[in-house]
Amino acid sequence: MIDSIVPILVVTLGAGTPLIFAALGELVTEKSGVLNLGVEGMMLVGAIVAFIATSASGSLWWGVPAGFLAGAGMALIFAFLTLTLQANQVAAGLALSIFGAGLSAFVGKAYVGVALQSAPRLDSPLLSEIPVIGPLLFSLHPLVYLSWLLFAAVGWFLYKSRPGLVLRAVGESPASAHAIGYPVIPIRYFATLFGGAMSGVAGAYLSLVYAPLWLEGMTAGRGWIALGLVVFASWRPARVMVGAYLFGGITITQLFAQGAGIGFASQVMSALPYLATIVVLVLISRNLAMIRLNAPVSLGKQFHPDA
């Protein structure tokens, strides 16, 4: 029994990791009051840029920073439009998703079907030999450990550090934060770029580690699911982790069901993560008090220092 559960858990951790990066990044962005619906587009561009960097350099360690920068670059377009030019955040976010899908498909045309060497794992000698705990904790991909580190860092930053407090204040009441002299727009720029960079890393994980290959539209809605996860988590980092692994598990039920000989049409299984997103959105959102208590008050609203 244990023998069959451990590989499933390992795959679940892998499937949840891109959601962790994207959702934690978006969480920081939304905590500052900015709603960036372009996660899907930023992930796609991060995925293809990371893939190109890796296949050109032959090293994974060029791919991840490249994805990071590509995601941040995409977020910069969004930030310039919404924060400097005061454009509608919903419209700009949709534009970013459509643009990212087009840009990544355009740039990635030449890389469809190109193979990468499979990614290295960090096998800690001895520790990874321990049954059950070994494969679960000590022989995963480095990016999985990095996602745990990111969780700790985001949690510490938002709730234990002074800059994090300021960022949350900006998200709750930009006018008050501005009145006591905090630079609202630059702080929102930082939060938006951070979210974009993390989406880029999420995309890099998909194209370099999870797949590892490039396919047009390969994120398959994970960016949108990550947006749903932030609501599901009611803007709390720890709940993002729970949600991401829950969804990672749902994503791979297909493999699990096939192994167990359950004969549903493959499309039914593929639809599960999307249906699950709808179900959790309904369950969380119906509780208006909880949403009001946890959602950043100024989320999606523009702020102009003169106003």
Binding site: L85, Q86, A95, F99, L103, W224, V282
Partner: protein
């Protein structure tokens, strides 16, 4: 004045295209000709322009009703897919029919399919406060998987050499061709009717006025007693009905059968058409024609210049970026203020 920004945006998009083509080492003038002029240089080209603009305009009109009221239905692609499935069900069931009623029934079925699919996010939003953007988008993926299942399994053509596609529809289930020798068919009449209906709804109906108020000033709408739930329902269902009709137009038009993909992203491109058209029926018509040209140009670039067709998506996104950017200079007067900096102050508790 706000009508200037679509033209500014289109100009900037074309200039970006010039830069892109130059950067790729092509003669920008030749590329420009191949992309924007050659596709519509013939009667057939013009017919294709209208054929592709038709679903874009139709869906954008439906979405605009919601967007005006800040109801964000972005799952039109899924509603289109369900509309196509619903009318294909009829066409395949009455496969040997020659009745003139078949096509009208398919149109109704398609609209109802789109409405049903849009009703889910509307219900979840009004009843449980669930975000309609995410729900309608998730349902798009579900709709596409349902379509994939149908054409791979129960509705697959038994004589189709195992290709995932349905039987070809009978003539009674197809829109008649309007211009001989082209693919331009009567489905474009639905879009023309929708433009008129959209104009009346927005400018002459009390309901349209209520929805506009709801979008511009939510508090005022509530104070006046306009139902916020009704606004959401109408906004979502208008988009769903339009997208469902567009789905009928595709499968009972140029496709003539149910395929694993029934739309090259019309549902998403229509969002851009709605914005670029300023949520106004006439503007949407012009924006739809421009967007259709981008699609045709993308196809031509693929064949003539060996560029991936995705270049269309690239231009679509760019167009919307420039539009949103250009709006700022029209909505606001820009003043440069220098030397105003305040220092954060410690507040004693």
């Amino acid at each position: 004045m706000s009508y200037a920004s679509p033209f500014i945006a289109a100009t900037f998009t074309i200039m970006t295209g010039f830069l892109l083509f130059s950067a790729l080492g092509m003669d920008p003038l030749v590329a420009f000709y191949t992309f924007f002029l050659a596709p519509i240089n013939s009667l057939n080209g013009l017919a294709e322009l209208f054929l592709k603009a038709s679903p874009l305009v139709l869906i954008a009109l439906g979405l605009a009703a919601g967007f005006r009221a800040n109801v964000w239905n972005i799952g039109a692609e899924g509603q289109l897919t369900i509309g196509a499935i619903a009318c294909s069900g009829l066409a395949l069931h009455y496969y040997s029919s020659e009745s003139h009623l078949l096509l009208p029934m398919m149109i109704v079925a398609g609209a109802l399919g789109g409405i049903a699919w849009a009703a889910i996010p509307a219900l979840l939003r009004t009843r449980f406060n669930a975000n309609e953007i995410l729900v309608s988008l998730m349902l798009t993926y579900v709709a596409q998987l349902l379509l994939s299942y149908l054409v791979h399994d129960p509705w697959r053509d038994p004589q189709g050499f195992n290709f995932p596609q349905s039987q070809l529809f009978p003539d009674a289930a197809l829109f008649p061709i309007l211009v001989e020798g082209t693919r331009l068919n009567a489905s474009v009449l639905m879009s023309l009717a929708a433009i008129a209906a959209g104009w009346v709804f927005i400018n002459k109906s009390f309901l349209g006025y209520q929805m506009r108020v709801a979008g511009l000033a939510e508090g005022a709408a509530r104070y006046a007693g306009f139902s916020a739930k009704r606004t959401i329902w109408i906004g979502m269902l208008a988009g769903g009905a339009a997208a469902g009709l567009a789905g009928v137009g595709e499968v009972a038009g140029p496709l003539g059968q149910l395929l694993p993909t029934v739309s090259p992203g019309y549902g998403f491109a229509a969002i851009i058409v709605a914005f670029v058209g300023r949520l106004d029926p006439v503007g949407i018509l012009l924006a739809g024609l421009l967007m259709s040209l981008l699609y045709l140009g993308g196809d031509a670039a693929q064949i003539g210049m060996n560029l991936p067709a995705a270049v269309s998506g690239l231009f679509q996104g760019t167009l919307l970026f420039f539009l949103l950017g250009a709006d700022v200079f029209i909505t606001y007067r820009i003043r440069v203020i220098r030397g105003v900096r305040t220092q954060p102050q410690e507040i004693a508790v």
